[in-house]
Amino acid sequence: MQPQNGIPIDYYIWLAAALFTIGVLGVLYRRNAIIIFMCIELMLNAVNVLLVAFSTYLNDAAGQVFVFFIMAVAAAEVAVGLAILIMMYRNTKTTDINILNRLKW
């Protein structure tokens, strides 16, 4: 299959999968909440790449429109997230989070 730009579609799938996995790795690997947010942005961008690639290949604009909405959602999430982060920093003077630390069985 040779689409108009000559790049096979599965290359984009690999790229998106790689970026998504790096995002997941970052979320699990780091403890700094700001970096974790950035990694979530990375994951969302992996999704966007996939959607845009398939929207072009399937010739369906709905995929690209969905990407707009994802961008809006990402912006909204970051705004609230950073506000919570600042609030947390005010209370505890750190941005260190350990998602599992208070998990009592």
């Binding site: 690997y29 950035m38 942005e41 609030m87």
Partner: protein, 168 residues
């Protein structure tokens, strides 16, 4: 030619994405993430989605990353403030991500046969996108405004300091 460009952009994207995760200093992470976003914008252009590429640069590199940088400056985060995480947890994180990658690679193999492609180009232009967005997807567009309202109310409410003499 385009294929080489694709390889170059992908390599840069993956490399800088890895650097986002592994840099010690949050400011460097932000800068690497901006590089990743620019390479992704390059991919959009390769995919014939020019308008989206522009919006992507404006929204991500222009707005979201500036917000990140601003917060990092505000909280004065640097190398020393990075908390230590135990090696076992780091190891577990790498294993989990590796497993996910294996699962993804395993399940996504052989996609090429599935997708049927039709020839016509040009859906990435403002005209086409605008028509779809403001006809078919008008309602979600309105819902997005509600989403932004909720985010705005929440962010203002949470970000405002309780007393005026607070340090931040």
């Amino acid at each position: 030619m385009t294929l080489n460009l694709f390889y170059f952009l992908s390599f840069l994207a993956v490399l800088s994405a890895l650097m986002v995760v592994f840099s010690k200093n949050p400011v460097y992470s932000v800068l690497y993430l901006i590089i990743t976003f620019f390479t992704i914008a390059g991919h959009y252009i390769l995919l014939d989605a020019q308008f989206l590429a522009v919006v992507h640069v404006i929204v991500y590199a222009g707005a979201i990353m500036v917000l990140f940088l601003y917060v990092i400056m505000l909280l004065n985060l640097n190398r020393e403030s990075e908390p230590h995480k135990s090696n076992i947890l780091k190891f577990a994180a790498v294993i989990c991500a590796g497993l996910l990658l294996v699962v993804l690679v395993g399940s996504l193999k052989g996609t090429e046969a599935i997708v049927q492609q039709s020839g016509k180009a040009g859906i990435g232009y403002v005209k086409t996108l605008g028509e779809v967005m403001f006809k078919e997807f008008l309602l979600p567009f309105e819902i997005t405004s509600i989403l932004l309202l909720a985010a705005m109310v929440g962010a203002v409410m949470l970000g405002k300091s309780e007393k005026t003499n607070d340090t931040i």
